[in-house]
């Protein structure tokens, strides 16, 4: 009910019987909100087929900038606006987890000036959206290795994670300083430590135990149902390698600075038409 209305219903604990008109109006209001939210799904998309977890590799900034004779930095400056829009759409349309590939372990090796600028874009994006995310009951997490990143963004990220921790709506995860192989390696080291300390036995190591050691254990749905990569390249670039085992990929040719609602609907529509067999029979 709280999620539908956007605020908590406070029912007094004493034995006052609420007037029936108050109860009736509240229920009608809740139903109208519910209906309006359901009506907002674009034509052709079915609510029950919405992916629970959408992964996003936003790519194409350089080429977009190059096409327009702009600098790479100007290309990257568009990230915040597009991500905000996509977050709102995911929240509106019932996606439960959105993971964005922000800064990869490979990007960490780029020239300092370029990396610092890119990181500052994400810092600004988080800072400027925290209030809206709090209102929208959005939860925020970071996966990846934050230690190579500038101290200022570390602080902003921690604040956002703590402030929005108790929220139960859309779970927004941003991968910063992240690599799929790095994540698996860290999980392996953690398992090794536990075995050395006698906390688990070697024969206990199976897929579900290992999955609990990955950073995505913080979310209810760690595996993306749909992975969208913009910019036209068809590769996963070391993103969520373990978690992508059965993900449906959608490679869009649109450069990320141009990626809007219509493009997202196209990806969702494609996803909803796919037959996912998981190796068994259709």
């Amino acid at each position: 009910m709280s999620k539908l209305l956007g605020f908590k219903l406070v029912i007094p604990e004493d034995h006052v019987v609420w007037p029936s008109w108050v109860v009736l109006n509240t229920l009608v209001a809740a139903e109208l909100v519910n209906l309006s939210q359901q009506v907002e799904l674009p034509a052709g998309l079915r609510r029950e087929l919405m992916p629970k977890h959408v992964g996003l590799i936003p790519d194409g900034h350089r080429r977009w900038a190059h096409q327009r004779g702009l600098s790479v930095q100007q290309g990257h400056s568009t990230i915040g606006r597009r991500l905000t829009e996509l977050t709102r759409l995911c929240d509106k349309w019932g996606v439960q987890v959105l993971t964005v590939y922000g800064v990869s372990t490979e990007t960490l090796t780029r020239p300092k000036e370029e990396l610092d600028f890119l990181v500052s874009i994400f810092e600004e994006w988080v800072k400027s959206n925290m209030e809206e995310w709090a209102r929208q009951n959005i939860r925020f997490s970071v996966i990846g290795n934050k230690s190579p990143l500038p101290r200022s963004i570390e602080q902003v990220l921690s604040e956002a994670e703590v402030a929005l921790k108790a929220n139960s709506g859309l779970h927004l995860m941003v991968a910063l300083g992240y690599g799929g192989r790095y994540e698996i390696l860290q999980a392996c080291k953690s398992v090794s430590s536990k075995v050395k300390d006698g906390l688990i036995q070697l024969q206990d190591i199976d897929e579900s135990l290992f999955e609990q050691e990955l950073q995505t254990k913080c979310t209810k749905f760690p595996s993306p149902d749909l992975l969208i990569r913009t910019g036209g390249e068809c590769r996963v670039s070391n993103f969520m390698l373990w978690q992508l085992a059965y993900s449906e990929f959608y490679f869009s040719k649109t450069f990320f600075p141009n990626y809007g609602e219509a493009d997202f609907i196209e990806a969702l529509s494609s996803f909803q038409q796919r037959q996912r067999r998981y190796g068994g029979r259709s």
Partner: protein
Amino acid sequence: MDKGRTNQATQMFENLGGILRKFIFSILSIGPVPSHIAFIMDGNRRYAKKQNLIDGDGHRTGFSALMNMLKYCYELGTKHVTVYAFSIDNFKRSPEEVQSIMQLMQEKIEGLIEEESIVNRYGIRVYFLGDLKLLNKPVRLAAERAMGATAKNSKAVLSICIAYTSLDEITHAVQESVEEKCDEIRVLNTSGAGYHHREHLINVTDIEEHMYTAVAPNPDIIIRTSGETRLSNFLLWQSAFCILYSPSVLWPEISVWHLVWAVLDFQRNYSYLEEKKKQA
């Protein structure tokens, strides 16, 4: 007499095809050629349905398509080919289908090591990668025999992923890496030498050494036919920087042109891939 003429005509077309292929490959080879291509051979059952065949015949036609693709890859100069033959998930299919696939695999594995097979013609070493204990005894023994019989071949490598999933492979590699490190520490402790914690941290090389697919480098291209764009638990770790190509053609209908297209795409992305290999 007619049959003889038909055979002659077929032979002539095959020869012409071979010459045309050689010409195209020689042009492609001016640029970089992928050293490892992996295939997810999807669409055999849909092909069988389309052609009104029984399911099993779809897989048989798929096998012929595989032999052709192997020939093209090795002619092109690609040394490593990996194929997703049977996933651990596929055991979930109906017992009849699993049984039929197992029988076909046993037949084809035994055929692989015959004198005139493609494996001997091209000097291919064959590996079967996966949790082979899950296979029935005849198939497992045939696989082990094939690996033994081709062990001395060194011109090219064919890795057949069977009873395989990537998550199982990674978990297994993790288990082995952890066991190895714990043994190292135990030995050092017993000898009283002590150890430097930092030296005994597991690293990426340790994990990669224990993967079933350690026999080959990471793939440059993964091709999945039938238009599905997903990896279905295949080479997840290894696919980190490779190109994914998903033509809509069903596996039994795949042709040399799809390979040519994939190689051109690889050449277009070559500088990016090389940069990533250095960073990884």
